[in-house]
Amino acid sequence: MIVASPLQPLEDLLRHVLNALHSVGLPWAWSIVGLTIIVRMLLVPLTVKQIHSMQNMQAHAPQMKEIQRKYKGDRTKLNEELMKFYKENNINPAASCLPLLAQLPVFIGLFYTLRHFAKNPPGGQAAIDRGDFSWLHFVPDITKHANSHWSGYVLLTIYVLSQVASTYFMSGTMQKSQRYLMMILPIAFIPFILRFPTGLVLYWMTTNLWTVGQGLITRRLIPKVAPPGGPSPSGPKRSSRTPPKEPPPPDAVEPAAEVPAPKQSNAQPRRVKRKKKARR
């Protein structure tokens, strides 16, 4: 109850969206899938950013490997050095906590919405009998617990597989032990998930599959340019983030060589200003 009250507006909003999708003609189960897709589509711009930053990281892979080898024993130091390296090379790490945490309210909101559905389903018992809450002809009722029907176990299996797969895609530079933990925990949680409404498993399954699909597309878009071992060429280093950096120097330096000193000092601040604008 304590958790539910601040989330009440969100629960209402989610129910409105679900209702809207349902009134368009989608069955409830497909409305949940639709809602998931809407949430993930809102996050797509972030994915584009992520692709850029991954391309950038790819270009610096050899140096990063070098750092990783250097600080192999000390994980804290390694992270610190990596962060410093990112900053020096203008790499913006893709992963950030906020967008991921933003999914948390949706998850909890949907949990309460579905629980509410289970208690008093819109349309009453007649709607359940009519199969309003069924999905793909094999899930009889998405408001019931996942362990109430064999189909729940099917969804659960897909969920666990998709969870492991999406963790695999998400955990770019995560430490190995942490990655294993993240992959094992969903399996350890199966007894609890069994008591979740099936619709919630459906939501989590859809969002994971979206992550996997996104990961596959992202991998395709990132060319493996990094030469193994050798120092990275300066070409790709500059091309992705700071293109205006290269043209100004010849323009600014050549006249500076001819004209007296004061003008040279004028040219320099201008260059700094341009750099700042480019970064934004």
Partner: protein, 76 residues
């Protein structure tokens, strides 16, 4: 009181984090480690505020980097 905050972060790590797939943070230490440090050093209320502020900073438009709780400048 402050250990309640630390316990809450641990509870989050073992329950919700795997569902969310939060595997990587653009800051070092990660947001949850930052929260633990903040709770230990500044107590429950300041710790919560610091951790919340850190989470808000941990967005796609920030730069990330090395950022320890003890180096905070919110409370002086």
């Amino acid at each position: 009181m402050r250990y309640m905050g630390v316990a809450a972060v641990w509870a989050y790590r073992f329950t919700l984090a795997p569902f969310l797939g939060v595997g990587q943070c653009k800051y070092h230490p990660s947001c949850s480690q930052y929260a633990i440090d903040a709770y230990k050093e500044f107590g429950f209320f300041k710790g919560t505020l610091l951790a919340g502020w850190r989470l808000l900073r941990c967005n796609p438009w920030s730069r990330g980097g090395v950022d320890y709780a003890r180096d905070q400048r919110v409370f002086k």
